[in-house]
Amino acid sequence: MARITMRQAITDALREEMLRDENVFIMGQEVGVWGGTYAVTRGFYDEFGPRRVRDTPISEMVIGGAAVGAAMNGLRPVAEFMTINFAFVAFDAIVNHAAKLRSMFGGQMKVPLVFRAPGGGGRQLGATHSHTPDVIFAHFPGLKVVSPATPYDAKGLLKAAIRSDDPVLFIEHATLYQLRGEVPEGEYLLPIGKADVKREGSDVTLIGYAQGLQVAMEAATDLAKEGIEAEVVDLRALRPLDMGPAVASFQKTFKAVVVEEGHRSYGIGAEVVARLQEEAFDYMDAPIKRVAQHEVPLPYSRELEQAALINKQRVIDAVKEIL
């Protein structure tokens, strides 16, 4: 198996699906001639041409809405928001239209599109460019929200998202683009809405996704040196949310820490903790901890920004509090 970056895995997924299905096309800001602001679609404009790789103006509302309209009539748009922060401008198109039309018109329509959006903090971009707002989008039925933590998952999940007949918001943590991991040569798809155990252990359960999952894995590696074996569960999708592996793990370890890059209040941690107590109340040996972003707009200065974000030490400290 080749070890490739998450960026390459996403590029490969897009390219394979474009080659497979003529109805798949890409639209967004700088996706074409520029090659993608994160270089994900480099070379696509030359390979597929301006019909299938469509540069748009800086117009998130119509990027969102036009993708919905094209999908309604049978195409499979992959529309890119340059960052998830700009998807706020298209919030109505995403949650009021992509997510609602099928139900609101009694199943007459389907909206098979993918919104891709890089996101996340840690790059000194200031408060408006550093959000991890994934959970906000996951609040709404009708949308699927996926955010992978590894190159392998990114490729298999993105291909599945493109083939899904439902609208999928695919959030890529920008600091993970350079992350390398093993990806098999042949084609594969991964099911959307299936969590995955990324590391086995019996002492504590760490639950995360995307960047939070990677931080949890780093913490687990360090904890192992102290003889603490953490099991790490990757949610992979926030909607549909598969709690199966997390609940099973918790029933084994009786302790859990949820790790997420978004803010703590109303975050995915709040949802996961609520479900754990609903589904596994009798197994709870200690308070379930949440490691999340501090309740501040992310500052520019590196030290301040890092102080607001999650890191492995905060996860390790949380684990030790409940062991």
């Binding site: 119509v62 036009a66 109505d92 009708g142």
Partner: protein
């Protein structure tokens, strides 16, 4: 124009008028819930423009959508059933008055966030352009929608990509209760089209012939590769914005002045004065419309409510 065609336009306009009157009645009785926006006064626009389309051309509009649904040919009884929230409604009772659609007739709704569906129209047009067809999109919206970002982004992108859209602004003089000149920096909507590379044309929206001819020409221009077109239909809604509108923002005199230009009256006079139809023939149409409406109401009343098990259906395709 053939007599049968003109009689059909007359029938559709009367059907829309009486459908709306019936809806107002049912709303007062509490049988229709939510918001209800009547199309009375604007009938010539939906009827005249949709008559100019081919069946493969798409129609998409805002929440004042009953007229468009009827004009594309959706059966009256299924629309009425949707009004009453019944399982037999076009949207299975999940959409309501503002969210009618009939995809089998390329009618894509019925959208209630002002301006948002203009972006959907761009996508519909993109899908046709992408496939290399010469099908077009008729996208309807009110004067109020020209003040929201969606309008500008959509007209701009359709222009950049030269998409097959006919933008049809139904300028009925008010966005809810706010007059055009209190909400828009320019009072002529076509001036906004100029910014996006379109000449635009103002059309007498009370005259079904003018609407038909203008739409036909615009569709032809789109198919000939001239890019998107913009029509500003000058019209007036005779009733309030929605049911319960106190109508404090306009005078009775103003309403009466416009009512003298009743689009149905204009067509009726034309048919009679030109000797195209007799009063008796028109009366027969009226009677048939009344019968159709009565049957539609009966169908809707007798239809079942959506089963509670349907609460979770039609949300995701993949789980079905």
């Amino acid at each position: 124009m053939e007599k049968a065609t003109l009689l059909e336009w007359y029938r559709q306009m009367v059907l829309i008028r009486r459908f709306e009157q019936k809806c107002a009645e049912l709303y007062q009785l509490g049988k229709i819930g939510g918001f209800l926006h009547l199309y009375i006064g604007q009938e010539a626009i939906a009827v005249g423009s949709i008559a100019a389309r081919r069946a493969a051309d798409h129609v998409i509009t805002a929440y004042r959508d009953h007229g468009h649904a009827l004009a594309v040919g959706t059966e009256t009884k299924y629309i009425m059933a949707e009004m009453l929230g019944k399982a037999t409604g076009v949207s299975k009772g999940k959409g309501g008055s503002m969210h009618l659609a009939d995809v089998s007739r390329n009618f894509w709704g019925g959208h209630a966030v002002v301006g948002a569906h203009l972006s959907l129209a761009v996508g519909l047009a993109l899908s046709e352009s992408y496939r290399g067809t010469d099908n077009a999109v008729l996208c309807y919206f009110g004067d109020g929608a020209t003040n929201i970002g969606y309008f500008h982004e959509s007209l701009n992108l359709a222009g950049v990509w030269q998409l097959p859209v006919v933008w049809i602004c139904e300028n009925n003089q008010y966005g809810m209760g706010t007059a055009v000149d209190r909400a828009s920096a320019v009072s002529e909507m076509i001036r906004k089209a100029h910014a996006y590379g379109m000449e635009g044309k103002q059309v007498d929206g009370m005259n079904v012939f003018a609407v038909y001819e203008a739409t036909k020409a615009a569709l032809q221009a789109v198919r000939d590769g001239a890019g998107p077109q913009f029509l500003e239909m000058i019209t007036y809604r005779f009733e309030g914005h929605s049911m319960g509108d106190p109508l404090r923002y306009r005078t009775k005199d103003e309403v009466e002045k416009w009512r003298a230009d009743d689009p149905i009256g204009i067509l009726e006079r034309h048919l009679l004065e030109q000797g195209i139809a007799t009063q008796q023939e028109l009366d027969q149409v009226d009677t048939a419309v009344d019968a159709e409406l009565a049957a539609a109401v009966q169908f809707a009343e007798e239809s079942p409510l959506p089963a509670l098990e349907k609460l979770y259906t039609d949300i995701y395709v993949d789980s079905e």
